[in-house]
Amino acid sequence: MNAAVRVLVVDDDAAIRQFIQMALEGCGYEVTTAEDGQEALASVRAAPPRVILLDMRMPVMDGWAFTRAYRETPPPHAPIVVLTAARDAGEYASDVDADAFLAKPFNLRELLGLVGRLVEGRDS
């Protein structure tokens, strides 16, 4: 049933994108990745995701700018999970009205559980 569920991973760190992608694909999700907000915007237009995992501090277009631009695109809008190494992870998440946040370095199981719940919540 997860075959059609797409998750967008936005992070400027290649290693982080890589292990998240491997973990999600292992659970049967389809994964697209983006290095920054601008790539992510192009990606949501081309292939709308069901969940967005979003790093905040990125070059070119950061998490804040991306969320603003994303919310201006036509609905539906996927839930956003903020992933950040910053001290004020919770503050960043409320800045962009995110659905959830995890502080880096996070627990991978926690991330997978969170993505699962968000996908199911949307399904029901």
Binding site: D12, D13, A15, I16, Q18, F19, I20, M22, A23, G26, D36, R57, M58, P59, V60, A85, A86, R87, K104, P105, F106, N107, L108, R109
Partner: protein, 536 residues
């Protein structure tokens, strides 16, 4: 000269002692120390000419001298008779009180006349030097019948608080009126003389002055002798004069009475008040300036501390971010592998290799970041010590490029160096510098391209350059790339804490060398190191 008044004095700029060798003075209307004789002669000539033009015109009721109106007063009326009159008027308040009233009046009137006469003569003679201004005073004094002036060489007439004049008045009109009427006073009587002279001198020297008669013929003294000084110093001079006089002298029987009368006190108090007021204002000004300075320094310090705190906070937040990023993937890959094993799945060998490779790279990155933090802390504490040894810097550079090769695919790494370039350097630290420069060259040429390291001897130094064809450093950042934490704020994309170049420059400078950005355009950047081959 009154020999008794000669006292040993410390040689002063205007020591008047040469008067001892004085020849017969051509000066007849005044006696002054030798160095001043020519000056007073001129004044004498001037005043003599002035008095030649006197005209008594009783038919008009006028007396004039060179066009200036004068009046004649009977001397006794202004001295012995004046005292008697005041005594009879104020006698009910006691003789001392009455005497003080008379003294006050006479001194103040004479002081005012002395000042006014001095002003008039200075104008007429057109003189500016204080002594020259003084010069007409005694001569005019003689011509107008007040007294003869005999200035002691112990005097020190300087226009400041050190002003000191000791002089006699033979033929003082005041003591004379007492002696002629067969009267003796218990205290000195030459009040107007003292007032007039101090008024003239005060006007000439521009400092407040008072004169006290310390010995008076009318009070049993051998002379009418005066001391003139600034009000604040007069008591000190009087005390010294008394100490040097034998107590048995008759003239000093009235010593008690020579104590400074009230009008001197008043002048001294005014003088002291003025001085202390000026001093106070000066102190207030100084203190205000100090406070303003201290305030500004404090504000600067507060602002600097605030900036330093903000920079530290920013640094800590950036450092934490940079450390947590490799940690995130380390933990992520580890958990991923554990999960796969728990699921009983055999990990895909290619994925496993990839995961382990990433773990390796990320731990290396983490290790570099931690070393940088330690280096910065050592540098700031001045505890980074070089361990120099004979090193082939060309080989060092080759080693750096070999180690960097696996970290990039898109770059062509190239070494241009002779077979060996040796110098006494810290090989580990210099390798760190070259590695940092090569890593930057790779990092800042994301599209790939050549990265060339050149090592060559140049004079007594070794020159190392690292050249790339990358992004270049934007001009607005060029001055600041060696600042601590600088890059971290602007180049997050490429990671790092902005400590690399700061540490590198510090290491090179510890070697006594230089590290500069020689060239940076959109077509690339060349960083250049020069280190002395031997310790400076």
């Amino acid at each position: 000269m009154p020999k008794a008044s000669r006292r040993p004095r410390v040689a002063a700029p205007r020591d008047l002692r040469t008067a001892a060798r004085r020849r017969a003075p051509p000066l007849r209307t005044v006696r002054v120390p030798e160095p001043f004789v020519p000056l007073f002669q001129r004044a004498q000539d001037y005043v003599a000419r002035y008095f030649r033009g006197k005209a008594f015109r009783p038919q008009h009721g006028t007396i004039s001298i060179s066009g200036e109106r004068y009046i004649l007063l009977r001397a006794a009326s202004m001295s012995v008779e004046f005292f008697d009159l005041v005594m009879s008027l104020y006698g009910d308040q006691g003789p001392d009180q009455a005497r003080d009233v008379a003294c006050n009046l006479l001194f103040d009137v004479a002081h005012a006349i002395g000042k006014a006469d001095a002003q008039a003569f200075h104008r007429k003679m057109g003189v500016a030097d204080p002594i020259e201004k003084l010069s007409a005073g005694p001569v005019h004094f003689s011509y107008s019948g007040w007294a003869f002036v005999d200035i002691s060489p112990d005097s020190h007439p300087s226009p400041d608080q050190d002003y000191f004049l000791i002089y006699d008045h033979p033929y003082s009109f005041e003591s004379d009126t007492w002696l002629r009427s067969g009267r003796r006073s218990t205290s000195p009587v030459c009040i107007m003389n003292a007032g007039y002279s101090s008024g003239w001198c005060e006007e000439s020297f521009g400092v407040p002055l008072v004169a006290v008669e310390v010995e008076c013929l009318a009070a049993g003294g051998k002379h009418c002798r005066f001391i003139m000084a600034p009000p604040a110093r007069i008591e000190e001079h009087l005390a010294r004069y008394r100490r040097r006089r034998p107590r048995s002298r008759r003239g000093l029987r009235a010593r008690r009475k020579v104590s400074i009368p009230e009008f001197f006190q008043r002048k001294r108090m005014e003088d002291e008040l003025r001085c202390s007021h000026e001093l106070l204002e000066q102190r207030v000004r100084e203190r205000t300036a100090e406070l303003l300075g201290a305030n500004a320094a404090l504000r600067r310090e507060v602002a600097e501390r605030k900036r330093a705190e903000e920079a530290r906070d920013e640094f800590l937040s950036v450092a934490a971010h940079e450390l947590k990023t490799p940690l995130t993937s380390l933990r992520g890959f580890a958990q991923l592998l554990v999960m796969q094993m728990e699921d009983g799945r055999a990990p895909d060998p290619r994925r496993l290799a990839k995961a382990l490779d990433t773990i390796e790279r990320q731990s290396e990155k983490l290790s570099v970041l931690v070393s940088q933090l330690l280096d910065v802390s050592r540098l700031q504490a001045g505890r980074l010590v070089l361990e120099r040894k004979r090193t082939d810097v060309a080989a060092l550079a080759r080693h750096v490029l070999e180690a960097a090769a696996p970290r990039t695919r898109g770059h062509v790494l190239e070494l241009r160096a002779p077979h060996a370039v040796t110098g006494h350097v810290d090989p580990i630290r210099l390798e760190q510098v070259i590695t940092n420069l090569v890593d930057n060259a790779i990092k800042y040429s994301p599209a790939g391209g050549p990265v060339a390291v050149a090592v060559a001897p140049r004079g007594s130094a070794i020159r190392i350059t690292v050249t790339d064809k990358g992004l270049g450093i934007p001009p607005e950042h060029r001055d600041r790339i060696f600042d601590r934490f600088h890059q971290a704020h602007v180049e997050r994309r490429l990671g790092g804490m902005g400590l690399g170049l700061y540490i590198s420059r510090e290491i090179v400078e510890l070697h006594g060398g230089t590290l500069e950005c020689e060239e940076s355009t959109e077509a690339g950047t060349r960083m250049a190191v020069a280190v002395p081959r031997r310790p400076p």
